[in-house]
């Protein structure tokens, strides 16, 4: 088992955005396993590494379903990661399954954010609850939950404005939106999904940590996997937040949201 082979595997992991620490750690675990299991073939070594990586990333998660009443899902993340698009795709997917969906346009800041979500609402056949641009996002979220309750919706999806995790005031705003949703309905939001762009490097870890401080993240949506980025940073995010990846975004169309598949994800890293 040559040193070069281990270095080659480490390079694959680093180039997949797994991060130096995780990559070095995985290769070290690989060395020990190779020694213990007396591995001779390169293909076997590669298989072992895939196995370790799958363990690190864990099993996919599924969308939470509230057994008694509407399920409220809040979508959060830094700017431009694909939150609004993912809300739209998720709404479409749920509607296709016969679920009644209400959307909350709680990005009251960015130009045409509300209009963007309204178009997705039309595509999905979901009502969009909105106020004016510049209004209080918590108020929109509150109204959206109330509307969902009174209309007996199955799912209420709340789209929030992109924000950098380093913007303390905006993270406080997010925390407030979460609390206000809880006031509109006990136990809500039931699901808080952090949207991570697969092209993101190590910064995704900082994003995850600070977003999780503001609101209890319950799952990850990893977007833009249709590009050439491998999204390896999701491994560190999963391990730090101890939440699963639930969905991946593989394009800009209504059908381009798929349940996360750990095996397929790991295989793609080695393609």
């Amino acid at each position: 088992m040559t040193e070069e082979l281990y270095e080659e595997l480490e390079a694959i992991l680093i180039q997949a955005d797994l991060g130096v620490e995780a990559s070095v750690g995985l290769v070290e675990t690989l060395r020990q396993r190779a020694k213990a299991e007396k591995i001779k073939a390169a293909e076997e070594l590669r298989w072992l590494l895939k196995d370790e990586l799958k363990k690190l990333i864990g099993e996919p998660g599924v969308l939470i379903k509230n057994p008694s009443g509407p399920t409220v899902v809040m979508i959060v993340g830094v700017n431009g990661t694909g939150k609004t698009t993912s809300v739209g795709k998720l709404a479409y997917h749920l509607a296709e399954q016969g679920q009644k969906v209400v959307l909350g346009a709680a990005d009251t800041f960015r130009a045409a954010a509300i209009e963007q979500l309204e178009i997705w609402g039309e595509r999905a056949g979901a009502a969009v609850i909105r106020h004016q641009m510049g209004s209080d996002p918590a108020a929109v979220a509150f109204d959206a939950v109330q509307a969902g309750l009174s209309r007996r919706a199955d799912y209420i999806l709340i789209d929030t404005a992109g924000r950098l995790h380093t913007q303390t005031n905006l993270m406080q705003e997010l925390e407030k939106v979460g609390r206000v949703i809880g006031r509109a309905m006990d136990g809500a939001p039931h699901e808080i999904l952090l949207v991570v762009d697969a092209t993101t490097g190590q910064n995704a870890l900082n994003q995850a940590k600070l977003f999780a401080k503001a609101v209890p993240i319950t799952g990850i949506i990893l977007t833009k996997l249709d590009g050439t980025a491998k999204g390896g940073i999701v491994a560190a995010v999963v391990n730090t937040l101890r939440v699963p990846v639930k969905f991946i975004g593989i394009g800009e169309g209504v059908e381009d949201l798929k349940p996360f598949d750990t095996e397929a994800f790991v295989e793609a890293i080695f393609d």
Binding site: G80, A111, E115
Partner: protein
């Protein structure tokens, strides 16, 4: 950070006189790790380390009372040099109207940056026209119109036309309405989408684009090299704008992109507001990458 790690490394190596090859590797490894953690591309790091190798463990370091600081200085100087040395000013020469085409991956900040550039150059006396060439994203045209309205800068948009026609019509409009600067906001696209990359080529064939600028998110990881290379190969970019620098991403993508295209980073985006645009400073970026 790197400073502390190098100090620890040199403490261990002190008093040995000449560094062994193993010692050299150790010092360079610390630099390599710092750059990888900052999202500089793996292959770019390899090339960079080879470049600084001789200086990083040469006389000036070994004879220094503070070898760790000396290595940092050398690395920082080399990074700055690699990213162009000093700030680059985009000059408008030749006959107006000057067409600036913004392109890049989905969500990188093109539409927001279009507004910032329009405002920036308007302050310098230009008469900009914003052009909505993203006909795909829901409410993209509306987004640019809202941006334009807030800046009191006109936005050219056409219903039901493809971006190449829109660009051509916008040029006519600009000439007839005394706009000397046209900023084309295009749809986000993947570098591997042949059809959409072809669209950018067709725009450049149809209208005389003065500068093509690739808009890149500062938090981009290893993929930055592939993206920049593909865009550059397809449409020969003239420069780059790095966005979302108001966050805490180390921004190694800056080195990766410059390294693989040889094109300058012209501006940095530092926020969502229309004034959050600054001329790019390679030396400041070098410091940020080193962390």
């Amino acid at each position: 950070g790197l400073s502390q790690r190098l100090q620890d490394t040199f403490k261990r190596l002190r008093g040995r006189g000449k560094l062994s090859e193993k010692d050299v590797k150790e010092v360079l490894r610390e630099v390599k790790l710092a750059l990888l953690e900052a999202d500089v591309n793996f292959k770019v790091v390899r090339t960079f380390i080879a470049r600084v190798q001789e200086r990083a463990v040469g006389e000036e370091v070994m004879n220094s009372l503070t070898p760790a600081q000396q290595v940092i200085k050398i690395v920082r100087d080399e990074l700055t040099e690699l990213m162009g040395g000093s700030a680059v000013q985009l000059r408008f020469e030749g006959k107006p109207p000057y067409i600036i085409m913004l392109c890049g991956l989905q969500g990188s900040g093109k539409t927001t940056t279009a507004g910032k550039l329009a405002k920036y150059w308007q302050k310098q006396g230009r008469r900009p026209l914003l052009v909505a060439c993203d006909i795909y994203r829901p409410a993209a045209v509306k987004q640019l119109q809202v941006v334009g309205e807030s800046l009191n800068i006109p936005v050219f948009a056409l219903n039901g036309q493809d971006p190449v026609v829109i660009a051509a019509e916008a040029l006519e409009y600009a000439k007839n309405h005394n706009h000397d600067l046209i900023i084309l906001d295009t749809a986000g696209r993947l570098h591997i989408d042949a059809e959409l990359m072809g669209e950018l080529q067709r725009i450049r064939e149809r209208v005389p684009v003065y500068r093509t600028i690739l808009v890149v998110d500062a938090m981009t990881g290893q993929d930055a090299v592939t993206v920049a290379e593909e865009f550059n190969n397809a449409i020969n970019i003239d420069g780059v704008i790095l966005t979302k620098l108001d966050g805490d991403a180390r921004g190694g993508a800056a080195l990766s992109v410059r390294s693989v295209t040889g094109k300058p980073i012209l501006f940095g985006g530092f926020g969502e507001k229309s004034d959050a645009l600054e001329v790019f400073h390679p030396d400041r970026m070098a410091g940020r990458i080193l962390g």
